[in-house]
């Protein structure tokens, strides 16, 4: 049944996304875009863009969006519940556990490792979005690459603004404006 399937897939995503915020992106890309084909790569990137512009955690926003696309309101609820329940249970258990064992070396080491791994996985998701945005491809297939100079320019400008400590929200708005301007003049790529 599709609702159960949504709940189960997002339960896995919720269970394995350590590091918060962007940590759900790689798993959603793998499970929802590649394994199940519930979202296209374009929809996936749109969804992350929309999540950036609306309040609430990315995990909740993305699961709601995907669930809604697949099975309307019940779908969005099943996906969102699936996504938050593992974190909820583990957070409460950890809270109880840590109140008792403040410094268990192995538990601490696992948590530290998870933080490092999540950085790598987020980098991996950034790689996918970069490939799609600037090279018009989804895989590391060099024959089908074609540099889109407008996207590259917007990426560089956005990155510089971010390094100058401009807020991500503002930078994304600016990149949208630049997109309208540049693609309005030169036309959208096919």
């Amino acid at each position: 049944m599709i609702l159960w399937e949504l709940f189960y897939q997002f339960f896995k995503i919720g269970l394995f996304s350590f590091g918060g915020g962007y940590a759900v992106i790689p798993l959603i890309r793998e499970q929802i875009v590649f394994a199940n084909g519930w979202l296209s790569s374009l929809e996936f990137t749109d969804m992350i863009t929309i999540s950036q512009m609306t309040p609430g955690p990315i995990a909740v926003n993305t699961s709601t969006f995907t669930g809604f696309r697949i099975a309307s309101i019940p779908g969005s609820m099943a996906a969102t519940m699936g996504c938050i329940i593992p974190g909820f249970i583990i957070a409460v258990l950890l809270y109880l556990f840590f109140s008792k064992h403040k410094d268990n070396k192995i538990v601490f080491r696992i948590l530290e490792s998870l933080k490092s791994i999540s950085v790598a996985l987020i980098a991996s998701a950034a790689g996918t979005i970069l490939l799609g945005s600037i090279l018009g491809t989804e895989t590391l297939d060099f024959s089908s690459m074609k540099i889109e100079f407008i996207s590259l320019a917007i990426f560089v400008i956005s990155f510089i603004l971010l390094r100058l400590k401009k807020s991500p929200m503002l930078v994304i708005c600016i990149s949208g404006g630049l997109g309208i301007l540049a693609y309005g003049i030169f036309g959208l790529p096919a």
Binding site: L15, F16, S17, G19, G20, G21, V24, P26, T45, D46, T49, I50, Q52, T54, G56, P57, I58, T64, F68, R69, S76, C83, I84, P86, G87, F88, A91, L94, Y95, F98, I106, R109, I110, E112, S113, L114, K115, S116, I117, V119, A120, A123, A126, I129, L130, S133, I134, L140, S151, L152, S158, L162, I172, S175, G176, G179, I180, Y183, G184, P189
Partner: protein
């Protein structure tokens, strides 16, 4: 953002718990998988009223984004076909890529600050495994954790013998 809001209403106004307890809650919420904000509200609720408090807090925290995104989802198909919206989204795609690259740089910097060689090395290794070699996340995560624990135990044993 959320932390300062919880601090204001739970610690300063209602005095449900102390600031020290709040930082403990924040650390555990960050160490748990999923949305940190939801975990944090759940723990704040748990601290005040046990499991019932945790459920009420988490559900209330989910409702606003759920409604907003549901509304956005309804209109997504209509607005996606609009040329101006498509151009804006195409531009934002590059902007979002820049935001995530920036996040990665900042996160990696905090990893490097731990000054633990293996925890620093795991980042490029896991990246190559997942992105370049295309190995599934469900294998990368447990594999790297196992390697990390082995490294810790070996270095501990070596260190123990030296003393």
């Amino acid at each position: 953002m959320l932390l300062s809001m919880i601090k204001k209403s739970f610690v300063e106004k209602k005095k449900y718990f102390t600031e020290n307890e709040l930082s403990e809650i924040a650390a555990i919420a960050q160490s748990s998988p999923g949305a940190i904000a939801i975990n944090m509200t759940a723990l704040a609720g748990y601290r005040v009223m046990g499991i019932a408090g945790a459920i009420v807090s988490a559900v209330s925290a989910v409702i606003p984004p759920l409604i907003i995104i549901a509304v956005v989802s309804v209109f997504y198909d209509y607005i996606r076909d609009n040329q101006i919206v498509a151009a804006a989204l195409k531009g934002m795609e590059a902007g979002v890529a820049a935001v995530i690259v920036d996040v990665v740089i900042n996160m990696y910097r905090t990893v490097l600050q731990r000054k633990d060689a293996f925890l620093s090395m795991i980042v490029p290794i896991a990246f190559v495994l997942n992105f370049v070699l295309g190995i599934n996340v469900m294998f990368v995560i447990p594999g790297c954790i196992a390697a990390s624990l082995i490294v810790m135990l070996i270095s501990k044993r070596a260190g123990g013998r030296g003393q």
